[in-house]
Symmetry: D3
Amino acid sequence: MRSDGRNDDQLRDIKITRGYQDWPAGSVLVEFGRTRVLCAASVTEGVPRWRKGSGLGWVTAEYAMLPSATNTRSDRESVKGRVGGRTHEISRLIGRSLRACIGLAALGENTIHLDCDVIQADGGTRTAAITGAYVALADAVTWLAAGGRLADPQPLSCAVSAVSVGVVGGRIRLDLPYEEDSRAEVDMNVVATDAGTLIEVQGTGEGATFARSTLDKMVDLALQGCAEINRVQAEALALPYPGTLPEPKPAKSTQPKAGK
Amino acid sequence: MRSDGRNDDQLRDIKITRGYQDWPAGSVLVEFGRTRVLCAASVTEGVPRWRKGSGLGWVTAEYAMLPSATNTRSDRESVKGRVGGRTHEISRLIGRSLRACIGLAALGENTIHLDCDVIQADGGTRTAAITGAYVALADAVTWLAAGGRLADPQPLSCAVSAVSVGVVGGRIRLDLPYEEDSRAEVDMNVVATDAGTLIEVQGTGEGATFARSTLDKMVDLALQGCAEINRVQAEALALPYPGTLPEPKPAKSTQPKAGK
Amino acid sequence: MRSDGRNDDQLRDIKITRGYQDWPAGSVLVEFGRTRVLCAASVTEGVPRWRKGSGLGWVTAEYAMLPSATNTRSDRESVKGRVGGRTHEISRLIGRSLRACIGLAALGENTIHLDCDVIQADGGTRTAAITGAYVALADAVTWLAAGGRLADPQPLSCAVSAVSVGVVGGRIRLDLPYEEDSRAEVDMNVVATDAGTLIEVQGTGEGATFARSTLDKMVDLALQGCAEINRVQAEALALPYPGTLPEPKPAKSTQPKAGK
Amino acid sequence: MRSDGRNDDQLRDIKITRGYQDWPAGSVLVEFGRTRVLCAASVTEGVPRWRKGSGLGWVTAEYAMLPSATNTRSDRESVKGRVGGRTHEISRLIGRSLRACIGLAALGENTIHLDCDVIQADGGTRTAAITGAYVALADAVTWLAAGGRLADPQPLSCAVSAVSVGVVGGRIRLDLPYEEDSRAEVDMNVVATDAGTLIEVQGTGEGATFARSTLDKMVDLALQGCAEINRVQAEALALPYPGTLPEPKPAKSTQPKAGK
Amino acid sequence: MRSDGRNDDQLRDIKITRGYQDWPAGSVLVEFGRTRVLCAASVTEGVPRWRKGSGLGWVTAEYAMLPSATNTRSDRESVKGRVGGRTHEISRLIGRSLRACIGLAALGENTIHLDCDVIQADGGTRTAAITGAYVALADAVTWLAAGGRLADPQPLSCAVSAVSVGVVGGRIRLDLPYEEDSRAEVDMNVVATDAGTLIEVQGTGEGATFARSTLDKMVDLALQGCAEINRVQAEALALPYPGTLPEPKPAKSTQPKAGK
Amino acid sequence: MRSDGRNDDQLRDIKITRGYQDWPAGSVLVEFGRTRVLCAASVTEGVPRWRKGSGLGWVTAEYAMLPSATNTRSDRESVKGRVGGRTHEISRLIGRSLRACIGLAALGENTIHLDCDVIQADGGTRTAAITGAYVALADAVTWLAAGGRLADPQPLSCAVSAVSVGVVGGRIRLDLPYEEDSRAEVDMNVVATDAGTLIEVQGTGEGATFARSTLDKMVDLALQGCAEINRVQAEALALPYPGTLPEPKPAKSTQPKAGK
């Protein structure tokens, strides 16, 4: 029995709220238990310099933690003047994972920024972020399509979800809260598609090593968790777009109208 | 008639939600119409170096904007590697305003961090932040008092609220949304107490100058707005503390228990 | 009686020396008692990126303190690698105040940089800086006009001066030196025009709140001080331009000739 | 056939040169084909602040690339003023991997810095770095033991090696050079022990997803590669310590003697 | 004939004004023709960390240029967020030069900061800075001695001055203004003592090389110039200390009294 | 007798290895005794912004030290987030010295980056770096000439070498190792050409001053040392280019082909 009453192979309650903010093309609050991440997908014209003239779009992500999101207040990276290694690593992981599901040619030379800001942290923030960012991205694609701004009407080739799995006290467990994560012997994050294929696998022994067979069992459990999360994503996306879609033929506008 | 249907002297809908996050001692979501700011009050042991040995506590604030909070996505200050002038200015204003209502000797050498993160911006983010930060601070004081950690059981000498007022198209208006703020001839922010006294007055002609008599009318209107906001704060604080208060005699713990 | 022998409503000696440096189009040393600020107005071609193509010019300010200007040596911001909040705030205030008196269309796409470097600090450095920056700006305008580089021969719509006022030991006093400023209960800076209108009003209770009636008296006293300072500015500007003015028709040169 | 003539399951030539530099306790040049990384293990007294008083030592790593190491010159991170995301990520991976093989209690409150500087890059720099860092760490342990500075004479619990594996043109290949890495569909790095257990598994679909069965085959091949690399490490470490070991009873000295 | 009418071996007018600012223990405005540098010597308690416990004092220098000091406005290093190479280099040169003339043991564990801020630049700013910094240092020493804070009543072993010399159009010239400096074939700075010995010699061919015999002639001319500058320094220092000296026995105060 | 057995006027063993790395156009390992510096010359298209449109090329240098190069590990400047004063100073010296021997018009608007990374430090790293950078630059020129990319087939006007000289225990000595350098009374670096002319002379009294006659003897000895080093450079360059030269007529390629 886990301290929150779950079985080893059970996810926490997953909730997905679309349209959390008014301005971005996609804005999703995702909750994995007490972990809450706000994932926004903003469309901006143009691409980074190294990509100009390619005709291809770009999808990039930035992950951050509110100082008040953690049990003990954490210092603000803007005040420290530098983004830490962990933040960089997770931002890169999210961007890479979401680029795996979208045809960048369809976007033209436009960029989708995925901002994943952790409102409350209780383990699994990066997997929640990937899960929510997919839904925000899907909304941004709907918004672009409505505006007639996509070369290919359906550029998403699959859905993307992610979950953590670990070995805690010798038991393989799914979707670790902070209390388990902080004492896990092995910690793994798996990003998968709704076709059951893998996008990213990252497993680490924390002061311990692990057997090949443990790896196999962890991947099995994670894939099963991802499939369940995919169903929650699909349900959320079955509802209509949570805002006003643009008219079919705007030439230049980038975002829904509103103030600052 | 204003574009949102209000009279010139009318506030937007003000909502205050306490206990928005689980870990900080005070956590408040404040809404002025579409403007939404998350204000968290976190208690940490110790004070900044220049204050050590004084026996006095410290209250400090940090204001920030989520990239997705604005109509057009704004760049993340952590990624730019420096905090901008506007951010600095507002952070200093919030800290100064809240220090006006609390006896710092009562805290002992402890610090309360007020983190004001703008979730959605539609004008008046700094005045909403001050208004919400007061409620979060009051909750943190309740939490400290319950834990027996205050030298003086009621260190708050008054309540603090703030509102913007401006001259738009020649008319003096209260609580400007972005659409009005961006074209105001004069822009003013007033921070006041529930005793009707002033803490801070900042008025600026935006490419225009203004008469002494205009200043007087703006201050009158702002004080009337602040009094109304004080009532909303008082109502919100009339409800019980939205979490578990600590036992009377803890020696060392700083924050409510929870994970990351 | 104040410690320097002044009455409560009396300014310190104000001196304005034009032509303090040889290279900038305007260069003014302004003294408010022992406070000395060097204000230089330099003309450079072009405008910031966000303003390009508008046909409008720009006026911006940077405030800084020499390490040796303060009673106890202060660290150099270039060495710390970041500009502090107070510096940012004052730089923004100076720029905003001076932009209120100039028609930016007249400049064409050129920028005037107002560099206000504090040589010696004894309270009121920001108000001295605004006062001196106006005179330097006026000289830069004369220099631009002589060179035939202004669309409108007289782009200045008014003169700008500033002064501090505060409550010290319960008495409302004008133009506070450091010794009074550091123990003031209320501290206010007022920026006004020679027409008696206001540009900026910033009043702060320092660990205290203040009544509406106190605000009124402080603004009255400050406006009276600003009017006196306007007279000193006018006297200084009645003298001829303190350098060599350019010939009427230069196409491209930006600054008076000289070496490094 | 691969462009360098290897079979799919074949490593490049692996060379390990100990004692490459004179001052660090361990200094190893490791070569995976044309990839060359200099791995130095330096012992310094004390541990990071957050670890003080624990009685435990610390092992940390920093990875960097000479500007001239890459095909096209890359900018120096010191000049850019910030360490990039990729550098952070790899530094953290190396540190984590090596901490898995050493008992930190044995070090006392001392730190071993593992500096992995890439002299020439041709794919697989992070796996070469981990492989070389293990040998440098082993030398530093020998040096500490000779000086009588270890609480436990053999704090290394296993040997650590790492290798890359990927899917290139549909074929699973071991130890990818840059030319293959840059066009791989799936890219994986595996860190393993000489006992055949895993420390870290990181697999990424690069614009593609991959099947569970592909993951299994990649891990199999990588483990086989790691075992071979372990043999090369063991051979290198069978030779005597490549320098002068300290006398048994020094109290305070930290590094072999020499100049700057 | 040089453009300013001087002979090749002639200095510009050198003026030294002591007591330019009120707060630092030494404050000197030095002028070499149009070049003007403000040199302040501030005494602070304590020494840098690496020097603590040595019983020795420290003398360090920081050189900076006001943005308005140069013919074309230069960007502020605090705003750029980093100190440039030239600034670093000159700061180090000034500190090194002045440390050559003072017994650091006499200071006890106190630091003298020499801040050299260029008010106006017309060539030779670094040599003017060294020349002025010596006089400011001498005043700081007088101030410390009066306060009974020196272990050795006369810690200055010699006077220090500096001058530039160069080859311009094939002619060896002394004390180059910007107009000559910018087109010199060889540029040299010499720091010397009043005993005629050398502290620093830095000569550079600017896109040209120079003969051994040219070096000899340049050093001869520079030493003659330094001797003359020493006489100006001695005359300036023959006047009484330009401020109020502290009473003989203060235990702890660091600077002359005054406000901010 | 010196501690390493040399006479006062004797150089350490100087070794120059060309072709140390595969990708840069020139890559040289230079050794002055135990001091080892890797000097790479990389050709990139384009010039810095301030030089665009001039038709001239640029040669610039960056000097850095591996953390493991020094007796006690030194912190990485990329991690500290700023390049130190000493690093800046040496980088500027190397660039200036090498620009003295090359006609920048011949390069067209291309840049040669000279990266001098110290692998092991034992005194004289900057003079070794200049010596090695010359050989790397000569190789880059050969590479550019072979590709038909030079306007002038032989843009090098002379060879450049450098050596340190100092006064140690009252004796004038050549090419100081760290052990002598750290206790030298006078320290000098001389950069000279193979024609016996000077490019740069930098002499510093380290807490001591020195006589004019000492300067003369130091320069004599340094010039003799530079002549010897020139012979070692010439021998090294007498061997064929250590790699594959490009075909005569490439229009656009910049560097020898290879991976990352």
